[in-house]
């Protein structure tokens, strides 16, 4: 869980009304995104939501159909040469000479930049010193991902784009990547990452932007997202198969069993409700193992990408306006 929100108020990515089309298909549909220095933002969404198209537009790989993009105040296409030395990119997969090992390819990339990071230090940072001479094609999936990450950092970038950084990485590697991302943010680097894994978004990002069909459907800090609509709902875990209609009648609100054993009450969390709920369960000798006001990020996410659209607005104090259209 990120320790704190970013302090710097300097926007390193400012993207408004971005539209990306591939022929008749609209991959990104009027997407707004703001990222400040020292901030980690996760673009979260199912496959095909437009995450990669968004990131690749910001990196200068795509020409948007319309919209305005500024990365470090520059246009990624028109100011390509000025921008490239200042950003770090991790593509979704590959992108490395198959016959070169981590040390050789990091040395090569370090020659592209004016003030590169020390190669040996980077190898250690991503724990590749033991396989520094192993050709890329013989590295494991996790090692390849960590090398891609190191390559994104070699030029001391001010903004880093990480497309699915933890895909195919084992838990230890994930922890290493999370640490690197946290250190980058602490050093004032802006980090935009994409993922379809809720857990990773929640652990790494200060702010989560949920996209579906090329649009932002919800955004905010993980806490804000989870407590969106917290005043109106309570969820708890108890033995499956309870009589929700009877409970609903007692409480005076709709109760549903979202999945076996996980219940949701559409009412504000009041001491009265908690007491009523507890006594109703006690009468049935049912033990409650979890009680929370609001929803899990997973519920928010599924709600948002499932397209039901209810209660998925931006959280308070969020930098993105107008996420519901």
């Amino acid at each position: 869980m990120p320790a704190e929100a970013p302090t710097a108020d300097h926007a390193v990515i400012d993207c408004a009304e971005l539209v990306v089309r591939y022929g008749p298909l609209t991959a990104v549909d009027r997407l707004d995104l703001l990222l400040r220095a020292g901030e980690v933002v996760a673009l979260l969404g199912p496959n095909g939501a437009g995450k990669t198209s968004t990131v690749e537009s910001l990196e200068g790989y795509r020409r948007p159909a319309s919209g305005r993009i500024r990365v470090l105040g520059l246009d990624p296409l028109a100011d390509h040469r000025a921008l490239m030395p200042r950003i770090g990119v991790m593509l979704q997969r590959g992108g490395v000479y198959p016959v070169l090992g981590p040390r050789r390819v990091l040395r090569l990339f370090s020659a592209y930049y004016d003030r590169p990071r020390d190669v040996e230090e980077l190898l250690e940072l991503v724990s590749l010193d033991a396989v520094a001479m192993t050709p890329w094609r013989r590295l494991s999936g996790g090692e390849q991902q960590r090398l891609s990450l190191a390559l994104a950092l070699v030029g001391q970038p001010e903004v880093v784009f990480l497309d699915e950084p933890t895909a195919g990485v084992d838990p230890e590697g994930r922890r290493a990547i999370r640490k690197v991302v946290a250190d980058l943010a602490a050093a004032g680097v802006g980090v935009l990452l994409t993922t379809h894994e809720l857990d990773e978004a929640e652990r790494m990002a200060h702010r989560v932007v949920i996209v579906r069909s090329g649009r932002v459907v919800a955004s905010g800090t993980p806490t804000e997202l989870a407590t969106t609509g917290a005043g109106e709902s309570v969820s708890f875990v108890a033995p499956p198969g309870l009589d929700v209609d009877d409970l609903g009648a007692r409480i005076g609100a709709a109760v549903s069993e979202a999945e076996p054993g996980r219940y949701r009450v559409d009412a504000p969390a009041t001491p009265q409700l908690t007491a009523t709920l507890a006594s109703w369960l006690a009468e049935r000798d049912a033990t409650m193992t979890d009680l929370r006001s609001g929803r899990t990020l997973e519920e928010v996410y599924l709600d948002a990408v499932g397209g039901t659209g209810a209660g998925t607005g931006a959280g308070p104090g969020d930098g993105i306006a107008g996420t519901e259209r």
Partner: protein, 250 residues
């Protein structure tokens, strides 16, 4: 400059590390030279077959490096996403392309350094040994100019294929083209020995123009025919242009 020289070193390292590339660029030309000068299976129509085969395999060497080796490697780099990844570094396309050209030239120098001594060892005499120092200098310059034009033409052709075809298909097409141009390009079989129709077609292709040029300059001591200059220059102008217009980086 640091980026450029690092890229040249990396490209050279990778080229020399690929066993199949060395086989293609050095192994096969040397083997052809040794085989055809020893076993007279091809009617060259000249008194000393080696006089025909040294320029022929030099032409083959240029085509192997500039078209096949460069094209296939670039195609796979595109397929692996390497070219795309380089697109978001400060390296830039001009320096990447420049590094590839320098690497091709370096490999060609290695090829010449191997093939020419082997040729002399087999009894090769430029112009049949009846040349003045002045005419040798002129012929060398002509040969060099032919080699440069051919490198540009074949390099452009290799990149044009690599820029549009899937890596595996590019590999197949480049190798197929190599075989066809090897046989119909005056490299091991004189174009004059081909059936008339095929010969006429071969003469407008860059391979025959390259070997005609080298045969003239290095072999029989004549001047490079105008036709060869025109054909080579036209291909050298056209293929890089096509490559530049059609190349897809990802």
């Amino acid at each position: 400059m640091r980026a450029f020289s690092a890229q040249v070193r990396a490209e050279t390292f990778m080229t020399l590390r690929r066993g199949e590339t060395l086989l293609l660029t050095v192994g096969i030309p040397v083997a052809f030279l040794l085989f055809f000068t020893t076993v007279h299976v091809v009617p060259t129509g000249v008194r000393h077959p080696v006089t025909f085969f040294v320029p022929g395999v030099l032409a083959l060497a240029i085509m192997s490096t500039a078209m096949v080796s460069l094209g296939i490697a670039t195609g796979f780099e595109r397929g692996y996403g390497v070219l795309k990844r380089l697109g978001s570094t400060p390296l830039g396309r001009p320096r990447l392309l420049g590094a590839k050209i320098v690497t091709v030239v370096l490999v060609e120098l290695v090829q010449a350094a191997v093939l020419v001594p082997v040729g002399y060892g087999l009894g090769f005499h430029p112009g049949g040994g009846s040349r003045t120092p002045g005419s040798i200098a002129t012929a060398s310059l002509e040969a060099l100019a032919v080699a440069v034009l051919a490198t540009v033409a074949f390099g452009g052709l290799g990149l044009a294929l690599a820029g549009v075809l899937r890596a595996e298909l590019n590999l197949a097409v480049a190798n197929g083209l190599y075989l066809v141009l090897l046989l119909a390009g005056g490299m091991v079989v004189p174009v004059g020995k081909l059936p008339a129709g095929l010969g006429a077609l071969a003469r407008v292709l860059p391979a025959a123009a390259l070997s005609d040029g080298l045969h003239a300059a290095l072999g029989n001591g004549a001047s490079v025919p105008l036709e060869a200059w025109v054909v080579l220059a036209a291909w050298a102008a056209a293929t890089p242009l096509v490559a530049a217009l059609t190349f897809r980086w990802e």
